[in-house]
Symmetry: D2
Subunit: 352 residues, 4 copies
């Protein structure tokens, strides 16, 4: 039985880890860390866990926790883990970080986009970017530190990855227009997240400046084997869960003047995803819907090839709290502990 | 492995049976009956099941199905099962009916409230009203026909049952004000269920005439050991799932002028529910929220005793598609096949 | 031109006064008071007013304001106005208070339900409870202080008033089950009002203890000419605007054993409301919907007489920010300044 | 007083014309045409108009109507007007068509995208594309036939128009990612528009094939003075009203290697819109929200210039039923009858 500690257990992502691990046969939670609710029952904070989780919330004492747990999930604000992580800690316990602290390899890029100093850059090199479908080979029992990808990022990268990797699109034209449910904004009591502000409304935000941009650029850059600069525009949608990424790119024009066919695009998706448990490639002409993946660890992907404009429109959908956060974190845990990747993660999407 | 056939598999309740049985270790679905989608892939009707359910929908051929299945769930309109049920069928296969056809013991009452003739009243006596928490003793391997309770009904009855049974309230004053999500209206393409008609709106409907009324009256009448006439008012709420019942009754005034105390009310709830897996009694002063039970088979119940008015306000919440339909049906199946009652039903509510 | 000052202009109710007065031919706003947004453009706080309201928000300086304005609307927290109101102020300017400070005639009742000391009880007697349909005679150019009724209260009272006044129901059995959109909770950044907490959820709150209870009891008590004690249960609904009150009462049984007929009930409603501009009596068997009144100053009322139970179910719907707050306040202003009552208030409900 | 007839008065757009004209000082509706609700009270179809509109719905008898009305609004399915329009009719009455029948000048393009034969192409040349901000000069008392622009189209065109017209963007790179509330889908009882299908969900649809595409291309092509081919992707959002268009284009690179500055972009918007009553240019870095324009005839526009990628992200928001349909139709009517353009259209957006 894997002993799990959670720091930030009472945020939406933290609570989703609790929900998923409730049904995990090989893991048990030994620490519900929550600075805001120390000594309160977890089920008083989240009534859905009444009679399911009887535990009390604790503080953030990482040292004590490190002795009790085999792995720690940190579902905490940017900068928290970087401020407290030590070699001593990593010798005792594996860490899966849901914040952005170790996702970006270039410290300067991190500090520029996040506007904070990185307090422990020495661990960045070691940290594995835990997008399992792409970096599975790097996640194993020797992995000590996982940088769990962001929600927008996971969706944006996986939707375009095969076409970038196979060189079917002109990456200099890549535009990602993403739409997210409101749980991605967290459980903080902020005016813009009030029901009456979000409901019956849609808006873009963080245009040309959202922090997930460099993370997407870096990872797709690895796939392209060259730097990529792209536009990423997030939007806030009046729903609880779900991210939809609509991505546009010019098809490459080859020397003979041809552009990739529908069959080639389909083949690229199938090459990378036909063996993937959590990526459901819907096929050409199919538009994924966030509702079809709600509550599950799936990413649904489809595309339309537009001969008129010479572009391909790629679309991907996932549940931001599952594949975009807690589910992917558990997927990483499974790999780190040698379990089948889908252990405890065969969650069937719920509709309606 | 229990072989399951579903008639009406592509309605919301039918699809929820599919979702729940996807995770049931001892049951497999052998028949996806759907008159509207014959020969179509089930996952083309419900995209959430893509790559999870590969089966094709079939017609309603009960005779063929009876030879293949151990149990049939009928998630069909009122009157369907009554029109086709035969002794021969019941000799071959157990039936769990999610419609109202066999819920009401008095045929005349059924025909009056539902406005249709009952085509097979000879089975009414045998049918067991499958509210497991109350009729568990009647659901076992000899049970052939279950009348699975309605969604409003399950919520309304369980919320008041202990106080009625223990004689703590004056049942002649019982008023049930219920609020339901829109999935209770089914997947039929009807104007009043369009997004723009339901969203940003609340209304009562079926006032003093809703068909679940006699079902509630009958079952609570058994608990009271005398007939009950009550008001039941349903309301349509702009959300997908969930029923909340707010119930009002005068506390009985005993011969010495006393009325039941908070402790007595609490004791009554605990007497009947402390051993129940799927009823979570929240305690005095606690108000259940539909979100806390979403996706699960739980009913959450709380109450407030109002000394000023001499009344008790009882509140109950459940997910209309789970405990109010598919989950309760599977709970009955488990009992009929000698399985632990919660097999495949330990669904953790999802929040947000 | 009536010169209007608003204290609390950036709350939802305050901003709704601004919206309504934007179209009022005889009033102009001279003061946008907002402690939180002093010196900010009003349209930076509420983007909908961009290019419509160019004004800057000011502080709460009532004395300066009193010299500039003919009437002040206070859309402020409980206790604010009571803490600052003076005879000197009332000599200069009329005040329409949207808080509860002067709604309840009995100070002890106010202090008990609101849990705060009343700082200027000397004005309670003078204050007119501004439910125009009932107290129109008291609102005129000599009126200095209006206690503008609460949103739940306006809906609850008007729905039952004719039947109480005419003695058709047994007021000791009156139960009010109310459902409200979320704007009623205000624009404060509080966790329970976050989108993800409210959306896809319904719950009761303040059961047997909500502060609008004594206000309803007092006003309906005047109509009944005797004290009334009743149950009032509010619920939070995932929508922006709208209140629906579903009210239950036993029909009176007269000495000859008869109970009021449908015709008598209809006649009572028509007696009081057929001449009312803002009350739309829908008739027997009609269920009002909050969407039908959204954005308008209407209250829609219908009823069902249930012969089985001897009860009448009354239903009323209004927009909590209009007839439940800002609209009614302007209606009072119109009366106080001798204008036709509906000046600037002929807002057509918007659907969908 | 302009006498108005409406064909299709009981669709969402038709009913919105009724709402707007209810407050129009110089127009009165003399015909509520509704094939589905002949002889029913209009207010029985739309309860919000109870006691406001007392009229009865009529059939589609255009000839009779032409004798009674000065102008006819046709809020009807594609092909209806083209099938019945005659020279005789146009001699008697002005027609404002909210369908696409006369929007596209090239019949072949219309027939290809709409998949129907055009029955009266002889009127296409005469029809004025009624996007007032651009074609105001063509809308006057001699105009007989207005092709009222589509909702997506109005938003998409106005958002990009100044930059296209001024040659600041490379139109071959223009991509429009649009998001719409559900009222745009109309009031037809179709499964995909049911509450439970739309709520808590977002999806793209009509990708690379939506019928508003050629309309946008044609109009922006006039501005560019050359043909434009672009991608337009609509998405369905769980809200009633509102369209947000997020548009991407490369800034032109001039011979000297420079690209347009923020100031140039701002100047272009101000050149075309500073005098416009219904276009609110928010400025650089401002993201319009659909809620800020709800219920009004405004279009809100903002932009972000992204130096990293050399692109500009343009954003526009409007209410699809007002500026995207009924409001713009009334705006055209005002121009056709010599009234101030904003007569009856100074609707203040409602928030929340």
């Amino acid at each position: 039985m894997i002993k799990v500690g959670i720091i930030g257990a009472t945020g939406y992502a933290g609570a989703e880890i609790v929900r998923i691990l409730s049904g995990h046969p090989d893991a048990e939670i030994v620490w519900y860390g929550s600075r805001s609710y120390i000594d309160k029952r977890f089920s008083d904070v989240y009534g859905n866990f009444f009679k399911i989780v009887e535990n009390i919330c604790s503080d953030d004492d990482l040292d004590t926790l490190a002795d009790k747990a085999d792995v720690i999930f940190t579902a905490t604000p940017q900068g928290f883990l970087a401020g407290v992580l030590t070699e001593e800690l990593l010798k005792k316990v594996k860490v899966i970080d849901l914040s952005a602290d170790y996702r970006i390899k270039d410290v300067a890029t991190y500090e520029k986009w996040y506007g904070i100093e990185h307090k422990s850059p020495q661990f960045i090199e070691e940290a594995v970017y835990g997008l399992c479908e792409i970096n599975r080979g790097l996640v194993n029992d020797r992995t000590r530190l996982i940088a769990n990808p962001g929600c927008y990022t996971t969706c944006s990268i996986l939707t375009a990855y095969p076409l970038v990797k196979e060189g079917l699109i002109d990456t200099s034209t890549l535009i990602i227009d993403a739409k997210s449910g409101t749980s991605g904004a967290g459980r903080g009591a902020k005016l813009p997240n009030l029901f009456c502000e979000v409901n019956e409304n849609i808006k873009a935000y963080g245009v040309a400046s959202h922090r997930h941009t460099p993370e997407i650029e870096e990872q797709l850059g690895y796939a392209a084997n060259e730097p990529i600069t792209l536009n990423f525009t997030p939007h806030l949608v009046p729903m609880n869960r779900g991210i939809l990424a609509t991505e546009y790119a010019d098809l490459v024009v080859r020397e003979d003047g041809s552009v990739p066919s529908s069959e080639e695009i389909t083949a690229a998706y199938e090459k990378y995803y036909s063996g993937e448990h959590f990526v459901r490639f819907l096929g050409e002409g199919k538009c994924p819907e966030t509702k079809w993946v709600e509550g599950s660890n799936f990413v649904d992907i489809g595309f339309v090839r537009d001969g008129r404009t010479g572009r391909v429109i790629m679309m991907g959908a996932l549940d931001n709290l599952v594949k975009g956060a807690a589910g992917q974190a558990v997927q990483n845990m499974n790999l780190m502990f040698g379990l089948p990747e889908n252990t405890g993660l065969d969650l069937v999407p719920s509709f309606p």
